[in-house]
């Protein structure tokens, strides 16, 4: 897995609604909210630039009306952006013809929807096999592949059920299975768990992480739930009024919020769950402390995961990096200070 290889790149993407949007934007590429307002336009997506790396879970987080759904639809060109470039593995999607777009969507993209978008007249198997049916794959072959994926999402035995016979969680499993049926490289999930009960939502998040560990897709995940974002994301983009306020790892956002708006979100987040040992460790002393270290903790571990180990230790722990080299030290008091912040 090459970490830094960009799968999808958005370069100053705009989506404006209203008459004469394109002309207005051509005149002034740096339109502010007030510029838009006086031109009678609605800026759903404003000058968004970001990169989604190969194999990463990229979460776009924002409250309703922040433009996150419009942005993800611009990325898949379900909505035509007003300006900008969308590079999918280096080729600009906005220059692709309708037929090319159909090919790309058929084989390389998958999408999961907030309200599942299952076809009511098809069974679970029929729904999962639907993208393959559209491609004209023969019935036996597509059902065989659909069965494999149904099993992958844990719905075996329900192949012949109709969507209305399933619970919300099960329906979304069908939605997920369907989006995976074509083995996409790029996987869009548009608030996939927002319509589910909190308990089911949690279960589905675990399921999602399990699948991702197995499949290693490049993922764009939309949510309005900051806790969900932190739980799932490798990196998060926070959107407000159509623009991206900050892009960073959960830890970045908590430690270095770029705007007051981001700070507002991160204020109530449990720091121990987000911060890694590396973020709070002290530099290693020249000589190991008297009596040696109480033990070792990896630098990448989350505080909440190691808090128990440090409990009761009166000496500092050595912090080691991936190669086992000591890069810092951590005391019980440092951890308690973080835990006390909530």
């Amino acid at each position: 897995m090459a970490e830094n290889e960009a799968k999808l790149v958005c370069k100053s993407v705009w989506k404006l609604f209203g008459p004469g949007a394109e002309a207005a934007l051509a005149n002034n590429r740096g339109m502010s909210m007030s510029d838009l307002q006086s031109a009678g336009l609605i800026g759903a997506v404003r000058d968004v630039s970001l990169e989604v790396s190969d194999g990463e879970i990229f979460v776009i987080m924002g409250l309703s009306g922040s433009g996150k759904s419009t942005l993800v639809r611009c990325m898949s060109r379900l909505i035509e952006p007003t300006a900008g470039e969308i590079l999918f593995e280096g080729t600009d999607l906005l220059k692709a013809s309708a037929a090319e777009m159909i090919e790309i969507r058929r084989h390389r993209m998958g999408m999961v929807f907030q309200h599942f978008a299952l076809l009511p007249h098809l069974t679970v198997l029929g729904n999962v096999a639907f993208p393959l049916e559209v491609q004209g794959i023969a019935r036996g072959e597509r059902e065989r592949r659909a069965r494999e994926i149904v099993e992958l999402v844990g719905l075996q035995g329900r192949e012949n059920y109709y969507p209305r016979e399933l619970s919300g969680g099960q329906q979304q499993r069908v939605g997920i299975a369907r989006s995976l049926a074509v083995e996409p490289e790029l996987w869009f999930l548009d608030e996939p768990f927002s319509a589910l009960d909190p308990l089911i939502r949690r279960e589905m998040q675990d399921e999602f992480l399990r699948l991702q560990k197995l499949l290693q897709k490049s993922i764009v995940f939309i949510t309005h739930d900051f806790d969900e974002a932190i739980r799932l994301a490798d990196r998060i983009a926070i959107m407000k009024d159509g623009a991206v306020d900050q892009v960073g790892t959960p830890e970045d956002l908590v430690i270095r919020p770029a705007t007051d708006y981001v700070a507002e979100f991160t204020r109530d987040v449990s720091r121990a769950k987000v911060l890694s040992v590396r973020a709070i460790m002290a530099p290693p002393p020249k000589r190991p402390p008297r009596g040696g270290y109480a033990g070792e903790v990896p630098a990448s571990a989350k505080i909440s995961d190691i808090a128990n180990d440090l409990n009761g230790a009166d000496r500092a722990f050595a912090v080691t990096d991936a190669t086992g080299k000591t890069v810092g030290q951590l005391t019980r008091d440092d951890v308690i200070a973080i835990l006390m912040q909530g």
Binding site: S76, F113, A117, L119, P120, E165, V182
Partner: protein, 686 residues
């Protein structure tokens, strides 16, 4: 410069004084306009006689073959030209229409052979039956199996009983002729409606063309286009089927457009994301997702086709419709009612059956498909077996093939006697009632309407349009009004407005209170719903017969029939409007200490107002369509004009009068819809 605050300073702005009712600009304009109208109507006749009788010289004339002629003659001339001279090079226009009717005739002959005549060889009376038609037992078994498949045993029993009725009362053979034309008209209507609806959904241009055409198709009375169809397609069952399709298709188009629009955006996104082509998007994603709404359209097409049964028999459809029409002409009430009830029974059976199919959920999942064909399709298997068995049995025993006449019963005499009894014993009471209403309500209202000069009506309608929906609506109303005057049908149109108005008034006086009562009590609602469901299933002619028998011909009879026919929507929309008021608002009312009466007046009726207005709108539309039929009982209005044109086969005259009826309907519809929309916007129900 001093620091005197300017008028833009917000602190100095005057508080807007709430204006009194009479000081609002629109109210003042209206008062002035009405005063001017009354003055004009009273005093202007000597000075402006043209306003009271539209001058012949001002009539709308169009150019044809070297000179200007009146619109109705122009239409007739154009159609004549189409028939005799128009040609597309390879074939003439007439050959085209005859070709279409030949194509339509093939499936009809097949259906009729199957259900009614059997498969014949040879022509006319020399024909020999090669294969018998389906036996009555087979038809009943098939229809019962469909009902059982679509819903449950209760429905199967109802549908079976309906068809048994047809056999028992000796209506079987007519009913099968009717059924075979329905069986052909409905698929054409549904498929045509679906395709046009899809095209209109896809393309803005198609939609712009289709919408006004639909408006016209739904408001021009059927009689008006019977003549052109007759001329173009000839007399016979095929023409009747074509007329039926034209009449029954518009709701399917509208429902298709609406259903496709209502497909959730996510489903469409899904279709795009899996890479559907346009065709796949339409047929694999949108149409299946909209299926349950589309089935409502199918139900509508079936019901409207049945509604046309009697009218279609005027241009050559046989069957139950012809029986009713013939007995109506003979004034044989017993036979007429029996055949009429036959149509009703057929309508109820097909209505419930198609509704069951519409609301049918996809079947529960099945674990494994059984391998044997007959086990996988048990209903089809049973039906096929019965068809074969009765076919073979029928060769030996006649009763298995055709319902034996000896088993039939008739109630014809009973109905005739009943009407005779009422007419003899209650003649005076009925007559007094009729005359009192005629003299005190109907005739004064008629005189009042006829006295309105056409420019005044035009101006007032334009003003109404302007104040409800802006200047576009105002201009539209005024222009449509001018059209009616300019084809020389103003006074007849006013009689139509009078009959329609008075009927709608009575329908509302009865319907709205019933609707309120039904909304307040669940038990009343259950009874009322069955009644109005049945009322809406009845073909319009059925209303006419008993009323004519009791009150003979004339305006009053027409009014009663129209009220009966148009009552249902007034009840339904009122009840629906009140029942859908947000329960939280009612709780808020109760908590604030409203009495039940206050709750009704101050909350429920206020909020249900837009819905009630739409109900009145529907009532007007139904009333207008019924009015044309009541022309048969001798009213002197546009309907009569259409009917006369029908009997004289005068295409232009019928169409022009038909357009006038349509325009009246469109004016009423647009004004009320605009009013309802305003009321809705004011209440924040958008």
């Amino acid at each position: 410069m001093t620091d005197i605050p300017t008028s833009t300073d917000p602190s100095l702005k005057e508080e807007p004084v709430p204006r009194r009712f009479f000081q609002r600009p629109l109210v003042m304009i209206w008062c002035a306009a009405l005063a001017a109208a009354v003055t004009f109507a009273t005093f202007a006749e000597p000075y402006a006689p043209w306003a009271f009788k539209y001058p012949r010289a001002w009539r709308l004339e169009l150019y044809f073959d070297g000179k200007f002629i009146e619109l109705k003659n122009w239409i007739s001339k154009v159609v004549d030209w189409l028939i005799s001279d128009a040609s597309f090079g390879l074939f003439t226009f007439t050959e085209l229409t005859r070709g279409v009717s030949w194509i339509m005739e093939r499936p009809y002959i097949l259906a009729k052979s199957l259900l009614s005549t059997g498969f014949l060889e040879g022509q006319g009376s020399a024909a020999i039956q090669i294969l018998p038609p389906l036996s009555w037992i087979a038809v009943i078994v098939i229809i019962v199996a469909m009902a059982r498949f679509a819903r449950d045993r209760k429905l199967a029993a109802l549908v079976g009983a309906c068809f048994l009725y047809l056999a028992l009362f000796n209506q079987w053979s007519s009913a099968m002729v009717t059924l075979s034309s329905i069986v052909i008209a409905v698929p054409f209507g549904v498929a045509g409606g679906l395709l046009i609806g899809i095209a209109a959904h896809r393309s803005r241009i198609v939609k712009m063309i289709v919408s006004p055409v639909l408006d016209l198709m739904q408001t021009v009375p059927v009689f008006a286009y019977l003549v052109p169809i007759l001329v173009l397609f000839g007399f016979g069952p095929v023409s009747a089927i074509i007329a039926t399709i034209i009449y029954a298709m518009p709701p399917m188009v509208r429902i298709t457009m609406l259903a496709l629009k209502q497909v959730p955006g996510e489903i469409i996104d899904l279709g795009n994301m899996v890479g559907c082509t346009r065709r796949q998007m339409t047929w694999r994603v949108m149409v299946p997702s909209a299926m349950s709404s589309l089935m409502i359209g199918v139900n509508q097409v079936i019901m409207l086709s049945l509604n046309m049964v009697i009218i279609a028999s005027m241009i050559g459809a046989g069957g139950l419709g012809y029986d009713v029409l013939a007995s109506l002409r003979r004034l044989d009430i017993g036979a007429g009612i029996e055949a009429g009830v036959g149509i009703v029974v057929l309508a109820i059976a097909l209505d419930r059956l198609s509704q069951a199919f519409a609301s049918r959920e996809p079947s529960e999942h099945r674990e494994e498909r059984p391998s044997a064909l007959w086990r996988r399709f048990p209903y089809t298997a049973v039906c096929l077996a019965v068809v074969l068995a009765t076919g073979i049995l029928g060769l030996f025993w006649g009763w298995a093939q055709a319902w034996p006449a000896a088993w039939s019963i008739t109630t014809g005499d009973f109905w005739s006697e009943l009407v005779k009894y009422i007419n003899i014993n209650f003649f005076d009471e009925l007559e007094t009632f009729k005359n009192a209403l005629l003299l005190n309500v109907l005739i004064p209202f008629k005189r009042f309407l006829i006295a309105i000069p056409w420019p005044v009506a035009m101006a007032l309608l334009g003003l109404a349009g302007y104040s409800l929906g802006g200047w576009r609506l105002g201009v539209l109303c005024a222009l449509l009004c001018l059209f009616v005057a300019s084809v020389g049908l103003w006074s007849k149109a006013m009689v139509t407005v009078y009959l329609c108005g008075i009927s709608v008034m009575f329908a509302c006086l009865i319907g709205i209170p019933v609707g309120i009562a039904a909304a307040e009590r669940e038990r009343v609602w259950r009874v009322v719903r069955v009644v109005i469901d049945t009322l809406q299933t009845l073909p319009s002619f059925v209303y006419l017969m008993p009323v004519v028998m009791l009150f003979r011909v004339g305006d009053f009879t027409a009014m009663i029939a129209v009220v009966a026919y148009a009552l249902a929507p007034a009840v339904r929309y009122t009840a629906h409007g009140i029942r859908q008021v947000d329960p939280q608002l009612l709780e808020a009312g109760v908590v604030s200490g409203c009495t039940p009466g206050q709750l009704l007046r101050k909350i429920k009726l206020k909020l249900a107002l837009p819905e009630i207005m739409l109900g009145i709108n529907q009532t007007i539309m139904l009333a207008l369509s019924m009015l044309v039929i009541t022309a048969l009982v001798g009213t002197r209005e546009l309907g009569q004009e259409v009917y006369i044109a029908l009997t004289k086969a005068d295409i232009g005259r019928g169409l022009v009068a038909g357009f006038c009826v349509a325009f009246i309907a469109i004016i009423a519809d647009r004004l009320i819809t605009a009013g309802a929309q305003r009321a809705r916007a004011r209440l924040g129900l958008q």
